[in-house]
Amino acid sequence: MVKTKTLDEIQGIVDALDYDFDCFSLHHFIKHIEWLRNRKIVVVGWEFEPKLYALWVPKSSTDYIFFNHTLHSTHQTHSILHELAHMLLGHACSPLDQVLPPHMLAELKLGSQQQGRPRTVLLNEVNPTQEEESEMFVYLIQKKVVNARRIHELYRGSSTVEVFKPYADGMGFED
């Protein structure tokens, strides 16, 4: 039986990443994970059907993350982070032919026995507990990112009206 992780354990894994979330960008974060795991991550946009959001496919030396590029960018980022969470939390994969239709496997040039992990609402989740852990992992990351963005927007941001910017900055309203 798979041992479930507590919120504190997941928080510990996020903290152990030792990443500065004040300057978070998805690309930068992925590079950081690659460096930590010493393993390449390739992220590829794909035109999946609307209810399949992303798919993690581990290969011998590289991890592939396919994401649905028709989604909103916020949803794309969330789904990619979700797949990264599976990697970092050590979640198991399952044969993709159990979760993807044959035509999609063929499109992605993946064999029927290829292991992978999708983020989808198309079918019953293979391991709901691990899906929840991954979502929790993303929320813990977003908590840091959202807070940094909120503080920037509220207390540190400058005017977006070019003419007014030097006047607003000169007032020293920000923290």
Binding site: Q142, L154, V163, D169, G172
Partner: protein
């Protein structure tokens, strides 16, 4: 409004002014020309506010043997503030040739004011009350030209284009301030005209817009406040955003037959960071499941609305704002 409360408001305004000014000074902001122009505007307007009612004028006049220094000083501060603000906004539309007419308006009005003050001081040929209504009418007419031709339209453009929440709120406060003082200006001009024709109703006309003075006063205070002081208003807005998104999520959950995001604790709603995360979680739940509404005949309109918001708003903030406007 009782005189004590008016003076309390004036004292409050100066306290906010000096707190914000000291913050700017500590951050070495005052070395910049734009900053100094902005601060001189606020200083002049603070002086004008302090002398706004007759009790303020009387206080100053007492130091000058009863000469109407307070009245002319206040009017000069208003005209200079508006001229400075005009110079700040002018670069927004430098090609508008007729705005050049405003370049000379303030210097002319200041010169006219100075001559009027000297003439009155020497001859004192008018009762003080009549002089007051006439000076205020000329000042308010000048103020109205600036406000209606430039300040309200340009501040409206800045308010629309501003994405910094705190500054957007300050632009809204500035708009409120200008609207209030336009109303005040109309009554001031009316009182001046009535004085000219010898009617005795000037006082009643001039005081008819007194409430607008104090609304404008509070709005002006808001424009001076540091961002952090306004953050509680942002929190209230985020609570409203969360309620709207949760309502939408519940509607989708009923159709998609899935559980909505877990129950939210009160502590999460009070803590700004937790609330922002709750908004994010609810948004992801909506994005995960809204496609389920596409196949339900009664929900097609809901699906189309959400899809349109998703297609048209690529930015997270705009997406959240757009979804709050979806009609269920």
């Amino acid at each position: 409004m009782p005189v004590e409360i008016v003076w309390l408001l004036k004292a409050g305004l100066w306290v906010i002014f000096f707190i914000t000014l000291s913050r700017a000074y500590k951050k070495h902001k005052l070395s910049d020309v734009s900053a100094r122009r902005m601060w001189s505007m606020f200083l002049l307007w603070n002086i004008a506010f302090t002398l706004w009612d007759e009790s303020g004028e009387v206080l100053i006049d007492g130091f000058f043997n009863g000469l109407p220094v307070g009245l002319f000083l206040k009017s000069a501060c208003v005209v200079l503030t508006f001229h400075n603000y005009y110079l700040m906004l002018k670069p927004m539309k430098p090609y508008m040739q007729h705005y050049r007419l405003l370049d000379g308006l303030a210097p002319i009005m200041l010169a006219v004011g100075l001559i009027a003050f000297i003439v009155y001081s020497v001859f004192q040929s008018l009762p003080y009350a009549d002089l007051r209504y006439l000076v205020v009418a000329v000042r308010d007419l000048t103020m109205l030209v600036y406000v209606l031709s430039i300040f309200i339209p340009f501040t409206l453009v800045m308010w629309k284009n501003e994405h910094n929440w705190s500054l957007k709120f300050k632009q809204f406060a500035a708009l409120t301030c200008f609207t209030c003082y336009s109303l005040v200006a109309f009554s001031g001009i009316g009182a001046g005209v009535v004085t000219l024709v010898g009617d005795t109703e000037a006082e009643a006309i001039a005081s008819s817009t007194d409430p607008a003075v104090y609304v404008g006063f509070v709005a002006f205070m808001v424009t001076l406040m540091p961002y952090r002081w306004l953050s509680f208003l942002f929190h209230l807005e985020r609570l409203w955003v969360y309620c709207r998104l949760r309502h939408l999520e519940n509607a989708i959950s009923r159709v998609a037959r899935i559980a909505s995001t877990s129950t939210i604790a009160l502590t999460q709603l009070i803590n700004p960071n937790e609330l922002e995360l709750v908004v994010y979680r609810t948004l992801i739940s909506i994005l995960d499941h809204y496609h389920a509404t596409q196949s339900i005949p009664t929900c097609v309109h809901l699906y189309e609305q959400i899809q349109a918001v998703v297609n048209q708003n690529r930015d997270y903030t705009d997406l959240v704002k757009g979804l709050t406007r979806v009609k269920i």
